[in-house]
């Protein structure tokens, strides 16, 4: 893989605020043209990492490059080529949609800002609301506007910080369709999210917690690398069973999913002993299952907490 195929490369990125390490020795790599999901609980360092990548925060140590530009020394090139969508809506509430887009087009020095803004309006279906003030828009429309502003200068890389937080399911689906069509045209996207269904729409994901990267790769890779054996348990009295299983050595994760209980362990042999021990003669049904991405993440988090 040559350097030109890499959109984001970070090595040992570290950032502290007030003595607390928010991002700790983070190493990651994103290939061009991919949609890379960035997952992790609140306060895990996702936003801080994204801000370091687009030059808004200076790392304490480590190095990184976006589109081949050094994040410490070439911020102005990065700003020109990278679209960053902030977690909180950060366009001008007292400007209309059109005025906001024209402002962005002018700042990026587009040849015909007015036309560029109009094209962006059409592409994202915002033309009917063009004269509406941005501050009066609902969450979904604000997000659309923010995305339109991000892609207006035709960046090569999009950094999206929780773009779908507080957006309804329909708008979320439209948003992801748009992201996929952009990626199909060669754009690289790094998108942070809380939602598992969104993670599954990504080509690759990175999972961080406490500022540390816990897993990275395609979903299949992450699931298989986790080495988890999983059983799906159905039947009565699952809550009592869950409590007993949690206290059992060899069970690394117990989590309820709807009417079922997911039970996972790293030692497959030990887990099948447990299956016999708890399953024989009991009213519940034990079936061997594939671990889901969520199982893996819950397991990762449980381990992290146990180590602390």
């Amino acid at each position: 893989m040559s350097g030109a195929d890499i959109a984001i490369e970070a090595e040992g990125l570290t950032k502290s605020f007030g003595g607390r390490k928010v991002v700790d020795n983070l190493t990651m790599r994103v290939e061009r043209g991919r949609i890379h999901g960035f997952l992790g609980p609140n306060g895990s360092g996702k936003s801080t990492t994204i801000r370091m990548l687009c030059g808004l925060l200076t790392p304490d140590s480590g190095r990184g490059a976006c589109l081949g530009y050094d994040i410490r020394t070439q911020q102005s090139e990065i700003k020109r080529k990278v679209g960053y969508m902030t977690q909180r809506f950060s366009l001008y509430a007292d400007l209309s949609i059109r005025e906001n887009l024209e402002f962005v087009a002018r700042i990026y020095g587009l040849a015909r800002p007015v036309e560029a803004a109009r094209e962006a309006l059409l592409r994202l279906g915002l033309e009917k609301r063009a004269e509406q003030l941005a501050g009066e828009l609902s969450g979904g429309w604000k997000q659309r506007l923010a995305l339109a502003a991000c892609i207006l200068p035709q960046p090569d890389l999009l950094l999206l910080d929780e773009p779908t937080a507080g957006v309804d399911p329909k708008a979320r689906r439209d948003f992801w369709d748009e992201i996929h069509s952009l990626a199909a045209n060669g754009l690289t996207v790094l998108v942070s999210t809380h939602y598992m269904d969104e993670a599954e729409r990504c080509h690759e994901i990175a999972y961080i917690a406490d500022g540390r990267l816990l897993a990275q790769g395609t979903i299949a890779e992450i699931v298989s690398r986790s080495g988890l054996a999983t059983y799906v348990v159905t039947g009565p009295d699952l809550e009592a069973l869950a409590a007993r299983l949690k206290a059992t050595k060899g069970v690394d994760m117990v989590a309820p999913f709807g009417m079922a209980l997911h039970v996972a362990g790293r030692d497959a042999a030990r887990l099948s002993e447990i299956e016999r021990e708890f399953g024989e003669g009991a009213p519940q049904q034990w079936t061997r299952g594939e671990p889901s991405l969520e199982d893996v993440f819950i397991d990762l988090m449980t381990h992290l907490e146990a180590r602390r």
Binding site: Y84, S90, D94, F103, I107
Partner: protein
Amino acid sequence: MILARQARASLARIHAMFVKELIQLRRDRVTLAMIVGIPLIQLLLFGFAINADPKHLATALLVQDDGPLARSFVAALRATDYFDIITAAADEKDAEGLILSNRVQFVIEIPPDFGRRVIRGEKPPLLIVADATDPTATGGAVSAVTAAASSALDRELTGPLARLAPAPAPFEVRVHRRYNPAGETRRNIVPGLIGTILTMTMLIYTALSVTREIERGTMEALLAMPVRPTEIMLGKIAPYVAVGGVQMGIILLVATTLFGVPIVGSLLVLGPLTLLFITANLSVGYTFSTIAINQLQAIQMTFFFFLPNMLLSGFFFPFRGMPLWAQYFGEALPLTHYLRIVRSVMLKGSSFGELAADSLALGVFTIVAMAVAVMRFRQTLD
């Protein structure tokens, strides 16, 4: 070639900021109204209200001699227009009470046998008790008393009493009160008001501009865009230079039509120098904006800067009356230089050449303030 292209791109970004600020200003109806309202109201209020040479001051009379000399003296005092005799005090204790209760500014006491003692050549005292807590309020009146007294007595001391009249001085003193012969406060205060009003409005406009972006969360998006601190600053300052120009126009119009303050010099001198002064204040405000964490802090800094400008620039009190260190301090304030410029151009007709030092000071001040602002501007969220 490359340089020219970069300059064009930079101008385009300044233009983008300029248009954005202008739209935001246009949407802010209250601010729009205040652009016109503040200078108009303040000019009318202060222009009419402030008078450094007050007349018709409340006076009490304590007369213990009702002879022709005393009566003539009281009449002369009345004729100065400084004294409105509103009451008579019965005795000294009563007179003291009138002053303590702020009912009168002056008590004029004519001692018993005043007339007879003058004629005997005893030089009896004429006592004028002034409430001099505010020296400006009493200064003019007190200096008018001596002249009034001698002219009153001159008229009375005729015939055999003429020997008592003071001899005229062997020379004549001529004073030319140029540029403001009648000593009207307005001619001094109204041009000064142009400076103070512009200082206040300009400081506030830009003092809030960066902190507002931070507080509204728009700074993060702005910083992620390829726009430089200098471009943000110039784009944010430019619309308010125009606003300052409009305010200047309003004030000048009112000053000349309503207050009758002349513009002896050229508007072509006053205009550009006023724009320079406006830019100086906008730069200071913008600098505060880059230092302050929030809008409240920015406002506090603005007032911290505004007060010395008001008090040490020569607006309220004579600049040359201050101790030397205070004068040096005053030289560092833009209003000091602008007051000299605006008063000189409007009242004396000074030209660019005569105002070169003050213009240069304003220019240097502006550049320093802008440099500090650009250096202080935080380009990251660290």
